[in-house]
Symmetry: C2
Subunit: 206 residues, 2 copies
C-alpha cells in the first residue's frame, strides 16, 4: 500500500484545484471557526457530501490548506537562504525582506492564512502549529545569525536565541504591516524601510 489512501489525492487535478482554491479563499477571508464548509462547496461547485467524502472533517481540510501555506512559505525561505549564502548580513537581511514582500504579493491569500496562524488562530492544534512554525523560524533565522557570527559581522557574545527573537519579531511585524497596507493599497517606501531595518539591526538606536 504505497499510494495514499486519501480520497482527495485520487481526484482529477482540475477538481482538486477547484477545491483547494475555494478553500484557500474561504480560510483567508474568515478564521477557522467562522469559515464555512457550505461556502467552500458553493465556491468549488461541488456537493457538500462530496467534500465530506474527500475530507472527513472541517479540521482535516483546514490542516491540508494550512500545510500548503506553510509549505509555500518554507519554499520561499529556503530559496532566499540558499541564494544569499554569500552575502553580507545586511544585504542578506534586505533580500529576506524582499522575499517576504514577494511572497505576500504572489500569494496574498496564503499570506493571510499564515498570519492568522501566527498571530491569533483559534485553530485546532494551535499549540502544535505554533511550535512547528517557531521551530522553522528558529532554524532558519538561527542559521543566518550563526553565519553572521562566524564571519564576525555581529557580536558572537549576544544570546543567539534572543537575536533570533528580535529578528523574528521585527520581520514578521513588518511583513504583517505590509500585508495589511497592501490590502488597502496604501503605499509606502519599501527601500526606506529596508535600509532602516538593516541599520537598526546593525547599530541599534544609538
Amino acid at each position: 500500500m504505497i499510494s495514499s489512501t486519501n480520497k482527495f489525492d485520487q481526484l482529477p487535478t482540475e477538481k482538486q484545484a477547484r477545491i483547494v482554491n475555494a478553500s484557500i479563499s474561504e480560510f483567508a477571508e474568515r478564521d477557522y471557526e467562522t469559515a464555512s464548509m457550505n461556502k467552500v462547496v458553493e465556491r468549488a461547485g461541488i456537493a457538500k457530501g462530496s467534500l465530506f467524502n474527500y475530507f472527513k472533517t472541517k479540521g482535516s481540510l483546514y490542516y491540508h490548506i494550512y500545510h500548503l501555506a506553510i509549505g509555500e512559505v518554507k519554499s520561499y525561505l529556503r530559496k532566499v537562504r540558499d541564494e544569499t549564502a554569500d552575502l553580507l548580513f545586511e544585504e542578506r537581511l534586505a533580500k529576506i525582506v524582499d522575499s517576504g514582500v514577494q511572497f505576500i504579493t504572489d500569494h496574498p491569500r496564503l499570506a493571510r492564512i499564515y498570519f492568522r496562524l501566527i498571530y491569533s488562530a483559534d485553530s485546532p492544534d494551535r499549540q502544535k502549529i505554533v511550535a512547528e512554525l517557531q521551530q522553522l523560524s528558529d532554524d532558519y533565522l538561527g542559521e543566518i545569525i550563526q553565519d553572521a557570527m562566524d564571519r564576525g559581522e555581529i557580536d558572537s557574545q549576544i544570546n543567539k536565541s534572543q537575536a533570533v527573537f528580535y529578528l523574528d519579531a521585527v520581520l514578521n511585524r513588518f511583513l504583517k504591516e505590509f500585508h495589511e497596507s497592501s490590502s488597502n493599497d496604501n503605499q509606502f517606501d519599501r527601500d526606506e524601510w529596508v535600509k532602516g531595518i538593516t541599520k537598526f539591526f546593525s547599530k541599534g538606536l544609538k
Copy 2:
C-alpha cells in the same frame, strides 16, 4: 439630560460587575464571532432578554468591554510614563517591560482581549480600533523616543516613526510571548530578557 441614558449604567453596581466579569471571561476565551451571548447570560446569572435590554447588540457589549481593556492598558502606560520621566532610556525601557509584565499578571483576561484586538480580531470596526491603538502607541512610544533624542541618548538622525515601530514590534511581541507562556506556566528569566532587549535597542547586534 446630563446623566447617561445608558440602561446598563443605571444598574446596581453588583449586577454591573457580574455582567462585566462574565463578558470579560467570554471575550477572553473566544474571539468576537465565536463568543456567545448565551454563555454570557449563563455566566452572569441573568436572563437573555435582560442583557439585550442593557446592550442592544453583541457588538455594543463588545465595544464596552474592549474599551474597558484599552482603558486599563492606557492607565498602566500613563503611570509608567510619568513615573519614569527622569530615568535614562535604557532604565526606562526596562520599567516599561516590567509594567507590561505586571499588567498581564494582574489582568490576564484583559490582556488576552487586548492581544486579540492587536493581532487578529475579526471584530467589528477592526480598522478603527487598530488605528486608535496605533495612535496610542505612536504617541506613547514617540514621546519616549523623543525624550531620549532630546537628551542625546539615541541618535536623533534616526527616523522617529521607524524607531517607534521597532520598539512597538519587539515590546508587543515579547509581552505576547510572556502572556502565552504564563498561561502555560512556562518560566523564563525576565531579567535576562530585559537586559537583552535594552542592550539590543542601544547597540543593535554588532
